[in-house]
Amino acid sequence: MSAPHYDAVIVGGGVAGALVARVLSQAGRSVLILEAGIEGAMNPDTYRQYLQTLYTEGGVRGMPNGPYPWNAAAPSPGIPNAPEPYYTYDTPMQFMSDYLRMLGGTTLHWQGTSLRLVPNDFRMQTTYGQALDWPITYDDLEPAYRRAEAELGVAADVEDQRFFGVWFPEGYVYPMHRMPQSRVDQFFDAALTGKSVKLFGGNYPLKVISIPVARNSTPNPKYSLGEGYDAVPAVGDRDQGQRCQGNSVCMPLCPVQAKYSALKTIAVLARKPTVEIRTQCVASKLVIDPETGRITGVEYKHYEKPGGGKFRVETAHGTLVVLAANAIENTTLLLASNAANSSGQVGRNLMDHPYLYVWGYSPTPVYPFRGPDTTSGVESLRDGRFRQVHASFRASLANWGWSSEPGNQISLLLGQQTYGAALRRQLAHRMSRMVKIGFMFEQLPTPTNRVTIDPKHRDQLGNYKPVLSYSYADYSLEGIETAVKTVWPTIARFANVQDETVFVDPAPGGYQRVTYNGTGYNLMGSGHIVGTHRMGSSRKDSVTDRNMKAWDHPNLYVVGAGNQVTIGTANPTLTAAALSLRAADAMLRELR
């Protein structure tokens, strides 16, 4: 057995892996990051190329992985015009979310929403008799949330964010002030102040609250006890990206890199002598000592070209091995290696946030199609007694008008042979009053929602592709029905919005149709992939302990959103980042 060459070998060059590497390298530890994908967007010329693709390839706009190229050696789901699908399904329902395997990972295309989970999300069983409790509480994770907010660069005002028991230490402020509120936000805020909606368990206020985002806004001079904060600009171009300047596209990439992506952390890591980053290296198997359970090596396939074809098998050795490749890729690697699964939970409890849009016309112009995708939401239904019987949800106010617009309206108007000044006028009249709300619903951990592998389904390098089983439980569907049939009409009434929502059948591309109590709903995924290697207090029903360390192996950590026991209604990246930092602290303690 050859001696470990690195303190830690990290599988995955996304936000989780980058943050672990950051903590370890800051303490002088040696780290190897193995990234399955290409360097891609890390290179400024390639970044510009992706941006041009966004302009010239109409079909890729609005798709999370729009301009990113197909890589047969490390395929990602959701690449437009891919020669073959990456997911296979064991169920009629499909898992609707995708991710990106490239240096920087899914944070290249994420929206940047950085919400914390609320305290009850950690104790669903105790509070509502649903799901399970986490082995840690909000209080336990709070310090790591602050560190994640520092690293990602989150813009919010604490005064807005104290609800449902979310607390901050005395004197804490976010690195940057909240993103300026859009006219859409102002409109709904005015309409809903003081209003409430009746749900199971009582009246719930409808409050419009700014969304914390990892996107550059005005630094708060009070940050870090008056040290202040320097907004991190674009990688390799300090004159770009110090502020969101309203390019109106965040996904699939921010034209100026005002939005955080893991590239910003990786840029710092790349300058450290104890950090090595290797791209085009797909981890394929963990080598395990049968007696001790130690991971003695990470076998990976180092390919020359993204088209697939030639590759070399190499092995990396580390004192510690960290899987940070995302909840699905961590799973396929563990299953392929027969690792960490005495509980049988690896791959199980796959969760996403089912997502649904409603839309209409505001009575007066609110001028959408400007600014970030969303700057505020109705956040006051993220918790409450109704969680005994149905899912909680949050409602993002959309700043970009209705989906597939203005294209649909133009086609409609041209279909009526409206042209010229009349077309210009009528289109502007409609566009300036388009409001849309995106509801995001929690799912409970369900063992049969899972990721498995099958020797029949492998990619060109011979690695396992994920096989997915997925469904929506009544708990979520009941929440969806409540949002669509009670909450949205209530909001529309207070705001005097003319409801234009129609769930067309069959569902359009990117949506899937679900019928509940006789009504059809068109659902998307949120891009949130959670739960497949959850933490717990017992090795019997979880994959890792409360520090993201695998129960079954003395030197294996599995980190990311896969550790989450429940999904709540928070976009998972901030939590995944906090968990990664927490895990890295435990790793440092071990390495001492």
């Binding site: 300047q245 199609f369 400007r370």
Partner: protein, 176 residues
């Protein structure tokens, strides 16, 4: 017809069809490119009809008379109107939507190379960034031209609401 005359007619008729001035259209830098797309996608026969229709409409001085000419000569034409509709889409959304197979057989012209019914031709990145659809509403195509940090919290400083003097009070909006 000389190339410069064609261009002049194309520009004037595009202004009539889009509701934007010739100067606005010149400012996109796409006039020559879009004329090229129109010619290439429709062929000489259809273009002759297009220019005739354009001249017939534009000979009238008043907007009302031109609208009447459009109603009589262009809107009912199974050849010319679809060309106009695709051209309007090209100006408004930066892509040329394919004309139907039946249009080509109706005109008696061959389909252009690479034609498909669901085709959306984007002639250049500039066609995308200069889309007219957003302008009147005080916005820009996604990713094209930023409007400035915080600009979304105030009314647009350009667009038809501004031009018409109907702008509501400009100011830093505040939510609670």
């Amino acid at each position: 017809m000389k190339a410069s005359a064609k261009r002049t007619l194309f520009l004037a008729f595009s202004a009539e069809l889009t509701g934007y001035s010739e100067t606005d259209l010149e400012g996109t830098g796409n006039v020559d490119s879009f004329l090229g797309v129109l010619e290439q996608q429709t062929g000489a026969k259809a273009m002759a009809l297009f220019y005739d229709a354009a001249a017939a409409v534009l000979q009238h001085g008043s907007a009302a008379a031109r609208a009447e000419a459009m109603r009589i000569d262009v809107l009912p034409s199974p050849t010319v109107w679809p060309m106009c509709a695709s051209l309007i889409m090209l100006w408004y959304q930066g892509f040329w939507p394919a004309l139907a197979a039946s249009w080509y057989s109706g005109v008696g012209s061959p389909k252009p190379k690479g034609w498909s019914a669901t085709q959306k031709i984007v002639p250049s990145a500039q066609a995308y960034t200069a889309q007219l659809a957003y302008r009147a509403a005080g916005a820009h195509p996604p990713g094209a031209n930023p409007t400035g940090h915080g600009s979304w919290s105030i009314d647009p400083v350009f667009g038809d609401n501004v031009a018409a003097g109907l702008q509501t009070r400009l100011g830093e909006g505040k939510s609670s």
